[in-house]
């Protein structure tokens, strides 16, 4: 049972530094002997042996139990992180960035890496693990080490997981443990009530309500809070682009009068189709042409060409035009289009999304990257 217990403990806290803490076995034995620590899930096997120096690990064969334990731990670790690895290599963005071969080096111990991974197939790890459970144990002396902080890593009061077995753990692929250790938790110091220097700067600068003297809010009529739009209007073609533009301008003027200086401080003067006022018709046409000729379905990025085509416009100007004018107008067309359904609007990949809707399956297979969302059959929603 001791080997399984040890592996179970490793399952719980895989980030224990191997070099620093060794296998933790001899120290556990020490603490067991001291009767300070409950040994519910501690390994109390004095026979596993002490750990040679890390560079020499490779020289030893699997007849040594400590070697078997190390291999098993690695298998668990790699299996658990295989999903992270596939995220990194299969992520939507990986086409843009090549992995340098040195990225695959093992960095256990010294660097603060989130993970160092290599792809290992689940089958391989299971093969290794099944070897572990059958391996004979060798008797050897173990010398005590001086791992004094290992005790801290044991959860003294944890209830044993129910129905746990060696096979069960390896198949419990969903349970990725929360890492515990000084690198992973915030330090929450004792409350002293002391004042943080400059705390008043964190209050920021007040934009609203306006300072007295700047404000006219008590003098003019304000719309009722929460008010929506009128049910009907007197425009010749209600709901048309022109109707919307008119009522938007009307409302905007009202808000501008209500907000006064805050309207400009919040940059509402640079919001919406107003942004196009500083663009010529030719520039706008060029913008649209560049986007159309670099469709996402061909895996193209239109921004490269865009930046080159508008040397006099800043990136902010171009991004602002994109969201405030281009996308808005495109949505306007979509909203009035007679073809049914799939408006996934604010997406650059609307073309891509439309395709996936038509064929009825999700945009991507599921991996660990948040981009690879599980199948989304309900993409066609508002």
């Amino acid at each position: 049972m001791e080997l399984e217990d040890h592996l179970k403990e490793y399952e719980e806290y895989p980030y224990l530094d191997l070099e620093k803490n060794g296998l933790g076995l001899s120290d556990v034995r020490k603490s067991c002997n001291d009767s300070e620590v409950g040994c519910e899930e501690s390994v109390c096997d004095p026979e596993v042996g002490s750990l040679p120096e890390k560079p020499k690990w490779r020289c030893y064969g699997t007849e040594h139990l400590w070697k078997q334990v190390l291999l098993a731990r690695e298998a668990i670790f790699l299996k658990r992180n295989a999903s992270i690895s596939s995220e990194q290599s299969n992520s939507y963005w990986s086409t843009k960035q090549k992995m340098h071969p040195s990225m695959y080096d093992d960095h256990i111990g010294s660097e603060k890496l989130r993970c160092s991974v290599r792809l290992v197939s689940a089958k391989e790890s299971r093969t290794v693990s099944s070897k572990m459970s059958n391996a004979p144990r060798s008797c050897s002396e173990s010398s005590s080490s001086t791992q004094t902080d290992l005790k801290d890593h044991f959860d003294k009061e944890s209830t044993p997981l129910s129905a746990d077995s060696l096979v069960g753990w390896f198949s419990d692929s969903h349970r990725k443990r929360i890492p515990v250790g000084p690198l992973f938790q915030a330090r929450v110091p004792e409350w002293t009530g002391e004042t943080y220097e400059d705390d008043s700067r964190w209050l920021g600068s007040q934009i609203w309500p306006l300072k007295s003297g700047e404000s006219n809010k008590h003098m003019i009529e304000r719309e009722r809070i929460g008010k929506g739009r009128q049910d009907s209007c007197g425009c010749q073609y209600p709901g048309s682009v022109e109707c919307v533009r008119f009522h938007t301008a009307e409302k905007r003027m009202r808000v501008k009068l209500e907000l006064g200086l805050a309207f400009h401080r919040w940059k509402f003067d640079k919001v919406g189709e107003e942004v196009a006022l500083s663009w010529t018709k030719e520039e706008e046409k060029k913008f649209q042409t560049i986007i159309k000729s670099n469709p996402p379905s061909l895996n193209k990025c239109f921004w490269d060409e865009m930046f080159k085509a508008f040397p006099s416009k800043s990136r902010e100007d171009l991004v602002s035009y994109y969201f405030n004018v281009y996308l808005l107008q495109r949505r306007g067309c979509q909203n009035r289009s007679t073809t049914p359904s799939s408006i996934d609007s604010d997406d650059e990949e609307s073309e891509f999304v439309l395709l996936s809707n038509r064929f009825g399956h999700g945009a991507a297979t599921s991996t660990s990257s948040i981009f690879r969302s599980p199948k989304k059959p309900h993409l066609n929603s508002r």
Binding site: Y92, A186, L203, G226, R229, F268, G332, D347, S373
Partner: protein, 414 residues
Amino acid sequence: MEAGGNSLPSGPDGVKRKVFYFYDPEVGNYYYGQGHPMKPHRIRMTHALLAHYGLLQHMHVVKPALARDRDLCRFHADDYVAFLRSITPETQQDQLRQLKRFNVGEDCPVFDGLYSFCQTYAGGSVGGANFLKCTSLASEIHFLDIEFCTSGDGVFYTTDRVMTVSFHKFGDYFPGTGDIRDVGYAKGKYYSLNVPLDDGIDDESYQSLFKPIMGKVMEVFKPGAVVLQCGADSLSGDRLGCFNLSIKGHAECVRYMRSFNVPLLLVGGGGYTIRNVARCWCYETGVALGVELEDKMPQHEYYEYFGPDYTLHVAPSNMENKNSRQQLDEIRAKLLDYLSKLQHAPSVQFQERPPDTELPEVDEDQEDEDGRWDHDSDMDGVDDCKHVSGRVKREYLEPKDTIGRHCCAHFLTA
């Protein structure tokens, strides 16, 4: 609607509250790159909706101070902060090792203005937290941190001073943590709760967990302040999320937490169908103010984003709810059982707020996406997480504007 289970005297749930809101007008123009689902523009859209529904006019709106290097270094490793400051899209090819080390470059891309973006929303968060501390009357604050859609990263996994409750999609899904059995470690045991949910959870199912669990958490833990991360990726139709909540269902959580009359910090989080993000956060700001908004959206600069119906609310889809009644009952029972192991709130008692006290409230609107995207969070080198303290400036106290006896510090960092 169900009243909150709080013990403080308070008005009806719809009582108007004074709300502070943090917004930086630059935030909308940061751009993660073509095709990336995180779009800071959603914050700008929210702001326009707030103006046109008349909500901004009823709040104290503040532009947050930018976080400086040394502010960030209170919480993050120096080398991480230095890396964020120096990396640019042009130089990133020379920094592959660092990119991998800090998990930057793909899902968390390097984009123009990355560092000032971090300074912007970190400034909002710290400002909001500072204000929260000022408005709480507890002499020690225990924070309750509620997340919506992605499981927490365990930053408070070992402390009993912060209780973290995370409702999230769990299964074969990023990030893989957040099993119901993950309840914290050492001193933090039972101070973390993970609520694992399956695809398609709807309003009713969600509330059948949220209210009983959070009700008991408030009763047992008695926090001095609550941080609620209102990630909108739990909404129906989210580009990445796979839940089926309506905006009203989502906001019901805000409404419920608000009813406890504890200083409340609302922050943003995920949310990748930006028209729904703007809808949701606008509506929830209304909830914070105690105001209902008309469904027919007013015409405004971003009106066309919300077509063809131009309504504030959208119906959830007919996707299958994979959370069975039995599963939900088991989850609830298990979590309530964990909570029963917490006998009493640690150390100092929560103090009732005297009825005549008028406190300002704070609200912010910035980018602070969930931990998945957050350049500001770093699992490799979390350092101090000090509480900031201080007094609120006199000029922010405007008794004549106070319209409710009980105030909440309310931040919306988006």
